[in-house]
Structure formats: structure tokens, C-alpha cells
Amino acid sequence: VTSAPLPADRPAGPALPAGPGRPGGLTTEQFVRVREWVYQRTGIQFGDNKRYFVDKRVLACVEHHGGDFEAWFASLRLSRHAARGEQLINELTVNETYFLREDRQFEALVDVLLPQVLAARRAAGSADPVRILSLPCATGEEPYSIGLTLLERWPQIDHVDVEIVAGDIDTRVLQTARRGEYGARSMHRVSAAVRARWFDRIGPERFQVRAELRDAVDFCLVNVCEPESMRPFRSFDVIFCRNLLIYFDQLSGRRAAENLFGALRPGGHLFIGDSESMSRITSIFLPVRLPNGMVYRRPPAGGAP
């Protein structure tokens, strides 16, 4: 059962002019049908201004499966052709990132949040590992950056266990993430010293994350809008979910926020992108000001901040 926030009989999206659409692109009717299908499965809504972006990627999928739009679209609904839907979602989700992006948040993790987590563990007499979730992890730069930051900047890593779990809706990027191979563009913020310690050079301007770090990150397929998909993700101390919520409409954003809330421990913290605001989506998190920005907290059990 999909957790699609829209019923199946929802009318087609915002009004578009009737007609054949862009020359060489989808017709308006085709665009609306694809847009609706994607929305119902991912919560991601493409506005009319994304028409060119969507057309180009959909047509690539149609071509790949024989060139007949109707046959391709019909096959999206058949479970035996699940890979076609997966391919479309892979094409339409944007996976542009690099190591140590918005690294102020990684610094806040180490300098502010993890000391609080350890203090709470000590107070409770708990030896549970610290759990961190990176979602969407795209091609892996974010979860590996978290690992690198802990290994390079946090001496406590020698005394506690830390689990890093990474999730994405795109199967293709998960494969790339597990391989951990990157080019110069992804690596441009990684210092030579860190590169030497944690990467192997595998070609001209190509580097692979060393197995020690690569094997420490658990990569999983997940759809943040689906409660069933998110249900296994529990008891995280910190979640990074940056630059994703901006793609959702209001209700899908609330569903995603609700699922992230459920994935946190009471008292756990959620980082979102610098350009995003949780207060526009939901009021269930407590905003917390950090030296370099904001983080959102699931209220601790019992309600006391």
C-alpha cells in the first residue's frame, strides 16, 4: 500500500495550457500523468517550470523501453516492471553534492550535539551506540563526510561506538555510494592530508573511500514520505535531511517531517538545509539555535526541554 498523500481520483495538477506541449517533448496530458504518478509515489511535485527537466528525463526512459509512451506508462503500474518506475524516480531525483558541503553543521555535530548525547548516555548509564542517519544520502558524500569529521575531529570516537546509516530513494546512487568512488568535483573541499588518510587513488583525479570507512556506513533504500518504508529507521540521535523538504508540497512535507520525527530518539536532533525552514512545515520540533545556525529537536520524553 502506498502512502501517497493524494487519492487516486485527484484531478490532474495545476492548470496547464492544452496542446501538444514543447516540440520534441511530452504532450501536456502526458506530462500531467507522469507528474501525478511521481507525486503519488514520492511526494515530489514538479511545477510547470520544471517541464523541460521532466520531459527530457521521461523521454529518455520511454526511449529505453521501446519508444511508445503509452506502453511505457502502462508498465509503470505493473509490479513485474517495478524497475521501470525505479528508473524514472532515479532520473528525476537530483543528486548533486560534494564532500563537506555545509560543513558548519558537521562541526556543530561534533562540538555541540555529540557531547550532549554522551552526557545523556552517561546520565542514563547507557552504553548504546550513537546513531546518525543521513537522508537522502545521494552518492554518499554526506554520510562519508560525517564519518570523516568524526574520525578527524572527535577524539571521543575512540571511546564510543557510532553507527552511520544512510538512505536514499534512488537505487542507482546507492550503488555508487557503496562503491565510494569520486572525482575531483566531489572532492574539491577535502584536504590533501585527509585524502591521503582516508582515500585510495584509483585513477587520474579518481579516489575511493578506504574500506575501513566505506564498510562502516550502512546504505539502505528508503522513501521518507512512506511510513512503512521509514518504520525500520528508529532511535537516531541525529538526522541530516538537507535540501530535500523544499521539493515537497505542504502535506508531503508534513508527512516527511512526521516520519523523521519518528526516526529520532526523544531529544534527538534534525539538521535540514540552510535554505529550509521547519517552522513553515510543522511545529512538532523544537527549534534550537546553534553557534552557526539552527537545528530542530524532537522534544525529550516527558516534554521537558
Binding site: A15, D161, V165, D218, F261, G262
Partner: protein, 203 residues
Amino acid sequence: MGLVRQHTSTRETVRQRRRGRDTDGLVAALQDPDPDVRRRSALDLDGVAEAIPALLAACAEEADPAAREALVVVLAGHDDPVVAAAFAADLRAADPVRRNTAATALSAMPSAVADLVEGLLGDPDATVRVMAMSVLGGLERPEVPGWLAGVVAGDGDQNVVTAAVDAALAAGLDTRPLLATALGRFPANPYLAFLAGTGQSPP
């Protein structure tokens, strides 16, 4: 000590969670003393139409913000007249969070809300009419441009009219004719003048 990888715990969680998730048990759990149990039970009732009455009753009384949020997102998935009527009543709530939550939920119910629009637009309380504009701004119905144009041309309250123009912007409609009408009726309104000065139109 250090970075460790452990994924058995998540699989355990799935197995545990799948036990005992019958509808009656989940409905009963909506009254559990633990708000997190109530929250998770609400989410487990996602898509279960026969649970709507119980979900609505719980939503009316739920004081825990997170449990209530779960009830709202699950209820908003039902484009249903009974659910829509309950959220429409919330548009006049004193609590702004409750009002805005209701507006978001109603925006996701294009079929059920259509029957309520006439009543909302004619409500004697201007605050309710302003909230109705928030609903229309996110509602995917072909009648939305006509509804907004009617409000801009006929509603006597400036705040409702400006909210209608805002809703048209949110819906990606061409606001220029609406702005012209609104400014013709309320030429001294500074917000409308500001919008006109920016040459607002859809992206």
C-alpha cells in the same frame, strides 16, 4: 570503539512492528496513555477508511502536538466529506496552528472540499474566509481561478481580498487581472499597491 555497522536492529524493528497491527487494536491504542504509542498507532492506521471516525475523535481531543500531527497527516489522506467537514470546523479555531493545519489538510482533499467552498466563502467570519483562501491556494480544482476571482470582485473585507490574491500567487495563476480589480475596489490598500508595483505574475 569507533565507527560500527549494525543493521540487524532495523530488521528486528520491522518484525516487532508487524506483530499485532489489527485495526481494532490500533484504534484502541489511540487512547493509550503514552503519546508516542498514540502517534505510532495513528500512522499505522494510514489508509484504513473504517478507522476515520476513531481518528477524528482522537484528533479532536489529542493534546500532544506530535500525536496530533500524525492524526492530521493520516486523516488528510482521506478525501472524504466527513473528514473535510471536521477540518473545515477547525478553520475557526482560536489556535493558529490548528487553523493552519486544517487549511493544509483541506488543500489535499479536492473532491470533498469542493462541496464546502460555497459555505466557506459565504461565512460571516472574515477570519474563516481568509483561511478558506489559504485552502484554495493549494487546492487542485479547475474552479479555483473562478472562485478567487469571485472573492476579489465581491468580498467586502480587504484582508480576504488580499488573501485571495496571495492564494492566486500560490496557485501559480496570473494575478494581474485580480490585482487590477482589487486595486479598483481598495485603491488605498498598501499591500495591493506593493504587489502591483512588483508586477506580480506566475514564474
